[in-house]
């Protein structure tokens, strides 16, 4: 117990914060990549790549930290989730490999065919990453059939259910909107004008897919909104989120992309907070036999480890915050290409 909240719950909150950090930070990298082929000129594509080149690697580290945090704090959940999602996760990982090397390789040769090939690899892998991430998130939220050893007892075709697919598409839309807004902050002139239009369109794409997913949830998976029905005070969160979402097209229209970016970041965070509240205390719910579900209590490491992890997080997080801030500050403003650029 620390501040009257037990360690497991603390670690659940920290894990949630890390995942939100990942979704916000790598979300704009992935979104920028997913819309890459909408940019036609070599110069535009180069600027778009250089807008994320110095920082995407640091952003992806949040995924690594998240993986470590889950492994350390909730090893049973780590084991169950990744072995259950074996096939989509392998595809996700291959996507991550190609996203990384495409950024690295693209600029290394001047030939147009070389660059166009890597543009396609880059864009497709970003789309695959976003879709598979959403698919896994949707299935975690909805729950998986688990046996008494707390391991997945279905086949991988199970994941392609309507809710999983809807969340998958919504995730892609969210990232594309977020990425387009990010790129508008980093560009000028005609590329900026083009991205302004794209940001608008992806916002519509996101709102539409989000509304459909929400309606589907309310109609077909009512237990996912039990928490908010039972705790009316927490209704403030979906309300806030709705305001944030509504604020995005407003700011985009006014050309205030920094505010739009803050709003889309807040949207991502609030969405994940909602998911976390609805899921709690389950890390992986088993709808068929709830007694096999994995919770923050039956999946957790020992109290000793939880204390160590909290100390690691308390020392590490401010450090990461400081140097992430410093690096972002160094590369602030519009992209300018120099001899070190990709």
């Amino acid at each position: 117990m620390f501040l009257n909240i037990d360690y497991n719950v603390w670690w659940y909150l920290i894990f949630g914060a890390i995942i939100s950090g990942y979704a916000i930070l790598d979300g704009f990298d992935l979104g920028a990549g997913a819309l890459h082929l909408f940019l036609n000129k070599e110069e535009s594509r180069r600027i778009a790549i250089n807008a994320i080149a110095p920082i995407w690697d640091g952003n992806e580290v949040w995924l690594v930290i998240g993986g470590g945090a889950l492994f350390a704090g909730f090893p049973v959940a780590y084991a169950a989730i990744f072995s259950a999602f074996y096939v989509p996760f392998m595809i996700f990982l291959v996507g991550l490999i190609f996203r990384g090397v495409a950024i690295e390789f693209r600029s290394k040769q001047p030939m147009l065919w070389w660059r166009k090939t890597w543009d396609i690899v880059y864009c497709v892998s970003c789309i695959i990453i976003a879709l598979s991430l959403g698919l896994m998130l949707g299935n975690v939220v909805q729950g998986l059939p688990l046996n008494h050893e707390k391991e997945f007892s279905g086949s991988w075709t199970f994941f392609f259910n309507p809710f999983g697919i809807l969340v998958s598409i919504t995730t892609l839309a969210l990232f594309m909107m977020h990425g387009a807004i990010y790129l508008t902050m980093k560009t000028k002139n005609r590329l900026y004008a083009k991205l302004h239009i794209l940001a608008n369109n992806f916002t519509i794409f996101f709102v539409v897919s989000f509304v459909i997913t929400t309606l589907y949830t309310l109609l077909y998976i009512p237990h996912l909104s039990d928490f908010f029905r039972g705790n009316v005070a927490f209704f403030i969160i979906p309300v806030l989120m709705t305001l944030c979402i509504a604020n995005i097209p407003r700011q985009v229209k006014r050309g205030k992309f920094r505010y739009a970016f803050l709003s889309s970041s807040a949207t991502i965070a609030l969405l994940l907070i909602m998911v976390a509240l609805e899921a709690f205390p389950f890390l992986l719910y088993s709808p068929q036999n709830p007694e096999n579900s994995i919770t923050v209590h039956n999946a957790a490491s020992s109290e000793q480890t939880m204390k160590i992890l909290l100390i690691i997080a308390l020392i590490g997080t401010p450090l990461v915050g400081i140097y992430t801030g410093f690096v972002f500050w160094t590369f602030k403003g519009k992209v300018t290409l120099d001899e070190m650029s990709y």
């Binding site: 074996y86 190609f98 040769q109 001047p110 140097y323």
Partner: protein, 459 residues
């Protein structure tokens, strides 16, 4: 094939491929710190050009290292779920610490290292280079601690029984400083530094042979030669220390390394040979009683042999462990020999006169790579049949919900992807090396032309 062997092949393949890159990042990191430090101290352009050249190579290597490394973190969960549950309490905290203390530092400042040359002051850039180097050193710390805990578990107790048994931390620092951590970490660090040093030696030896970029190649070669000489000799010390630790804590592994079966006899040390598993004897060229001497300082002292262990509690691939171990030692010895010859000739002022030596140095980049791989194969195969020594068998560590078909699918996927990656890596590395260091001062001239054909802009 069964899931166990497939999962082991997949893990070995993905980690072996990944492990080409991180040691190079660590080693080149040190070289970059030295070169950039020399640049700041002397202000000489040649050091600037050398630094910026190696930054570009570093970026390529680091990129593939990150891309292939992320697989590793999740493979524990995908393929080794039972293992993950068993060790999560311990291994997980090391991994979390690695992410937050090492990778975040490394990846954060990498952006400044690669893209920041004109954006931050030289001193801030230098500090970023140092921080990236430190980040890479730290990343080795936590993963080696975690792996060492699997070799020599300490600071824990077992909770639960049968399939629900798992290890829990009782003493964090005892876990971190388990009996093999420090020896193995130093051994891994130095091996990584050698990987970087020999790469710089190799590339510059090639330039010198081709009479290209001589003003940069010669000093760079000398810097790397100093590093190689110091660290290849130091590696002898950590290697010796490490083997004594293996003798004490993992006698079955040590016995397999030298193919030693009979516990009542003195143990020989082989230079070359093979293990005849049927006759339970190693054959080849050896120093009688050499291993006894190495461990106990006495040529006649008996060493615990493989026969002292039940057949199902000792490594099944004794010959493989034997060969990998000797391959590592042989590469290490050749590195020492090469660095000493180089240093001697430098002292005689004839360092760059011998073409045959430069040719050998061009190929020497493979030595630390082979030694690194062989060393890890020795450590991991020598630990079998255990995944956590004496506690958890590899065969019990698998994910139960994952089928052989799924592993075949991912194994094929990774094989194709990694072959493509490796080919591209060699192609681009070769291009960069052929292009050589670039004089950024004259870039205005080149800028006048088409951007697309500009070798600098297309870096």
């Amino acid at each position: 094939m069964d899931v166990e062997i497939l999962a082991r092949i997949q893990f070995a393949f993905t980690i072996a491929f990944h492990y080409i890159y991180p040691p190079l990042s660590i080693g080149l990191g040190l070289i970059l710190v030295i070169m950039e430090g020399m640049y700041l101290k002397t202000g000489k352009k040649i050091f600037e050009h050398a630094t910026r050249f190696w930054i570009r190579i570093f970026a390529l290597i680091f990129g593939i290292g990150v891309a292939t490394g992320i697989i590793m973190e999740f493979e524990f969960g995908t393929n080794w779920a039972t293992y993950s549950k068993y060790v999560g309490d311990i291994f997980g905290s090391a991994l979390a610490a690695e992410g937050i203390f090492a990778f975040a530092l490394e990846s954060g400042f990498l952006g400044i290292l690669i893209f920041g040359w004109n954006r931050v002051s030289p001193i801030v850039h230098f500090i970023s280079t140092i921080l990236v180097f430190f980040g890479s050193l730290f990343s080795a710390v936590w993963i080696v601690v975690a792996n060492s805990w699997q070799q020599t578990p300490a600071g824990f107790h077992i909770v639960g029984e049968g399939m629900n048994a798992r290890a829990e931390i009782t003493d964090f620092w005892a876990m971190v400083f388990n009996p093999s951590s420090v020896d193995r970490l130093l051994h891994v660090w130095i091996a990584a530094i050698l990987a970087g040093a020999f790469m710089v030696l190799s590339v510059n030896a090639w330039y010198i042979l081709k009479k290209k970029h001589l003003d940069i190649a010669k000093p760079s070669f000398k810097i790397a030669l100093v590093v190689a000489t110091i660290f290849s000799l130091l590696q002898l010390v950590t290697g010796h220390h490490s083997s004594k630790g293996v003798a004490k804590y993992q006698p079955a592994k040590l016995a397999a390394m030298e193919g030693h079966y009979d516990s009542s006899a003195k143990a020989d040390m082989f230079l070359l040979g093979y293990v005849d598993a049927k006759k339970q004897k190693a054959k080849g060229l050896f120093i009688p009683g050499g291993l006894s001497f190495l461990v106990y300082g006495n040529f006649d002292e008996p060493v615990k042999g493989l026969n002292a262990f039940k057949p199902d509690e000792r490594p099944s691939q004794v010959n493989a462990v034997f060969q990998f171990y000797h391959m590592m030692v042989a590469c290490g010895m050749i590195m020492i020999l090469l660095s000493l010859i180089g240093t001697f000739l430098w002292w005689k002022k004839k360092l760059f006169d011998k073409n045959w030596l430069l040719i050998v140095f061009v190929w020497s980049v493979l030595l630390p790579q082979i030694a690194n791989q062989a060393g890890w194969f020795t450590a991991e195969m020598g630990r079998q049949p255990w995944v956590v020594y004496g506690l958890l068998r590899t065969s019990d560590a698998l994910s139960k919900s994952v089928t052989a078909n799924q592993v075949v699918f991912s194994l094929i996927l990774f094989t194709i992807v990694y072959i493509v990656l490796f080919a591209l890596f060699l192609f681009l590395l070769n291009k960069k090396i052929t292009q050589g260091p670039v004089d950024y001062e004259s870039k205005e001239l080149i800028d006048e032309g088409s951007k697309r054909d500009n070798p600098i802009m297309s870096h």
